[in-house]
């Protein structure tokens, strides 16, 4: 699948007969649907953003499937702004993808080989699904070779690896106990490449798009958190922006599936919603451009699929700990007064703490270091008194 050198997104669009008006419309949809794409540039005007995207060289993308349900590919297929055709034909060069590519057999393997050779060190490897490691990886074979080996070969030549979905991020569903295949995520196997995890079951396709476009235009990867998730999409918990949050704060909970509270759209926390501990953007960016198309929106508690230790690890209907403190049980003030720290007060408290610590130190220096020394503390010149001796006489003059 050879392609012309210096094939930028702009040239590609012109060659395919996509006019500028249409392209600007596409950029507009992208900017609205995937605010992440705005991270590409500091420009605010559409044509400026479009100019930035136009100049980018279409990144070559190799997409490998391992132990997965293809749900992550499906979520990409269900996206309409941009739709998959626009995505793979205009924005990226999807050189190998088992589900959507027309080729099969030797032809498909040749495409993979070409991409790895011609684009070595430049292509983005997207991994979907977990990788079996038990029995030397023989639980899954790809073109006759263990999946483990394929991943190691392809990743060795990739510029960056994007692990899409919870399975590729850290094992996901196939790694649920007892984990018969020894399924692990990409970052357990590939150690020397930049890896971005986009967990979710499935993740939001716009997060994926944002990462790929940033890589294409700026050559960089987004800032990541401890689990290597892009901060722009995973920095907040579901709970923080949940549309049902008002019900949580007011103590209105669905207690059973189908009960009155559930029908009224009350908070699903008591049904095991993991929103308070789950970092993801689902509560603000719903799926398939359909309003409320996301678990909590349709009345299903969040299962915490973007958290390594939650989904497939803790029972689905167990209540999650509320990690961040919640507002008071009365109405919070509209303008919350924040306290002030007076420098003088800080100094006074510091002096007091210093006085306690210093005083203790000075006092302790005057106590004897000798075990069983009961003499008058702080006086080194007195002879140690005999047992029963009252120490130096105290000049009493009556009470």
């Amino acid at each position: 699948m050879a392609r012309p050198a210096n094939d930028t997104i702009g040239e590609r669009l012109r060659r395919c007969g996509v006019d500028r008006r249409e392209f600007l419309g596409f950029v507009g949809r992208l900017a609205v649907a995937a605010p992440a794409a705005l991270a590409l540039t500091r420009h605010l005007a559409l044509d400026a953003i479009a100019g930035e995207i136009e100049k980018a060289r279409r990144p070559s993308v190799v997409w490998l499937h391992f132990q997965d349900c293809t749900g992550c590919s499906e979520t990409l297929l269900r996206t309409s702004k941009p739709d998959l055709a626009e995505l793979i034909l205009h924005l990226v060069s999807l050189d190998y993808h088992e589900t959507v590519m027309a080729a099969s057999g030797k032809q498909a393997e040749a495409a993979l080989h070409d991409a790895m050779t011609n684009e070595a060190g430049r292509f983005v490897l997207v991994v979907e699904g977990s990788i079996p490691t038990k029995e030397r990886g023989h639980y899954m074979r790809l073109a006759g070779r263990p999946a483990l080996e394929v991943l190691q070969d392809v990743a060795a030549k990739a510029a960056a690896v994007i692990a899409i979905g919870s399975c590729a991020s850290w094992g996901g569903l196939p790694s649920a106990p007892p984990n018969p295949t020894g399924a692990v995520g990409v970052d357990s196997i590939v150690k020397d490449k930049p890896i971005v995890n986009i967990p979710g079951c499935p993740p939001n396709p716009y997060t994926f798009l944002g990462v790929v476009l940033q890589f294409a235009t700026a050559g960089t990867l987004p800032a990541l958190d401890r689990e290597r998730r892009p901060l722009f999409a995973y920095d907040r918990t579901i709970h923080e922006h949940c549309p049902r949050r008002a019900h949580f704060d007011a103590g209105r909970f669905a207690r059973q599936f189908g009960d009155d509270g559930h029908r009224h759209g009350w908070c699903l926390y008591q049904l095991g919603c993991k929103g308070p501990v789950t970092h993801a953007g689902c509560s603000t960016r719903h799926f398939n451009e359909v309003p409320d198309a996301w678990p909590i929106g349709i009345g299903a508690p969040c299962v915490g699929c973007t958290e390594r230790d939650v989904a497939f690890k803790v029972p689905m209907f167990d209540r999650a700990p509320v990690v961040r403190p919640t507002p008071p049980d009365t109405y919070p003030p509209v303008v919350a007064p924040t306290g002030t720290v007076d420098p003088l007060a800080t100094g006074l408290v510091g002096l007091a703490v210093g006085a306690v610590v210093g005083g203790t130190y000075v006092a302790s220096k005057r106590f004897s270091k000798v075990a069983g020394d009961e003499s008058v503390p702080g006086r080194k010149d007195d002879p140690p008194p005999r047992d029963g001796d009252g120490g130096p006489p105290l000049g009493g003059k009556g009470v």
């Binding site: 509320v322 004897s368 270091k369 075990a371 120490g391």
Partner: protein, 437 residues
Amino acid sequence: MSTPDVAPVPAPSHEGVVFRWQRGVPVHDVPLLTRTSLALLFFVLVGTGLGVLRLFGGALGPFSAMTDQYAWGVWKTFNTMALTALGSGAMGVGIAAWVFGYKHFHAVMRTALLTSLLFYGTGILGIVTDVGRPWNAWNAVLPWHWNTQSPLWEVLIAMPTYCFVFLLYENGPTVVERLWWKGSPGVRRWIDRWHPRIRRTYPYVVAAAYIVPMMHQSSLGALMLLSGNKVHPLWQSEMLPLLYLVQAWICGFAAVIAILMASCLVWRRPLDMKVLADLARVMSSLTLFWLTARVADLAGRGVLSRGFSGDRYSVMFLVETLAILVPAIVLRTERFRQVPRVVFTMAVLTAIGGLLYRFTPTTLAFMPAEHATYFPAVPEVLVMFGLVALVILLYSVAVKRFAILPAPLETWYRMFGAAPAGSFADGRPADGHARHD
């Protein structure tokens, strides 16, 4: 002073061990007011002035940094909730002495009782300063206004009752003893006639004096339990009432040890390492029990790992736990318990750790709303200092006028001679042991 013609009372001993601390003796060779007392008096006056201004000025705003979120400032959280733990020596040491038979602890009992009275008294002053509408406070004593389901009500009723009824009663003998020595023969006769009858009430009143503080010290924990999610999970627990109570005992022991040793240092008294080592041993056992309960509670709730996550809460948790754990382990060793310097340092460290544990959930790990902060304002800090200075000042005055700090009997004889056997002030109850109630 006319000293009756008497024979010395034999020194008290316990299972053959002669203790150096045998009875309370007033500190007699120093003036009542020193430069240090005057400095303390200055702080007391500043604090009192601000407190009075606040009460009669009516508003909390100019005098404190409290907000609607942080409605409890340091007067409540530090002076009352934290420092009354230091004032739990009367309960902790008292239970060890009267219930578990550590008879040689009676020698330090008067120190424990006095410090408890002072810490509780200033704690209540702290609440009084804090009450938003002091002119309505009298409603609290009207039973038909009581909400008997409320831990805050329990604290409100039990704490002043304990301070002004039980602690005053327990401190009574110290005062009556001075009256016996200083008063006229008529007063002496009156005391000698009445004190056996009063003594008959001791078991009941003293038992109640242990039950009442157990109630309100655990209620203080219950107050924070009721705050729910506002308190960080490392501290928020259904075990809070128990942990608060046991920590009060520990702090009580630590305060008694540290205050006694510091007093011996300041007023040149010999130490009694047998008593101090035993106090330290009991304190360390209690601390290990407390730490076990605390860790089991954290592990049971599945938040133990958050103590090591590296955020600021975990740092506070680690500092506090180390300050409590290190003394508990060091003081397990008999050799270390005999070294005055080690015992003193470890007692102070335990007290600091205990205070941190009691204070943290009320303020440092208390997050009523995102980004809400609280740091006391200057007047708040000065009133807080004033209350602490008041404790030290009254303590230093009391030990110079009353027979509180323990010393050998000989010190007493050298100063005053002995009381006639069988009189109130002979220091010898029926069982032959020195009485230091």
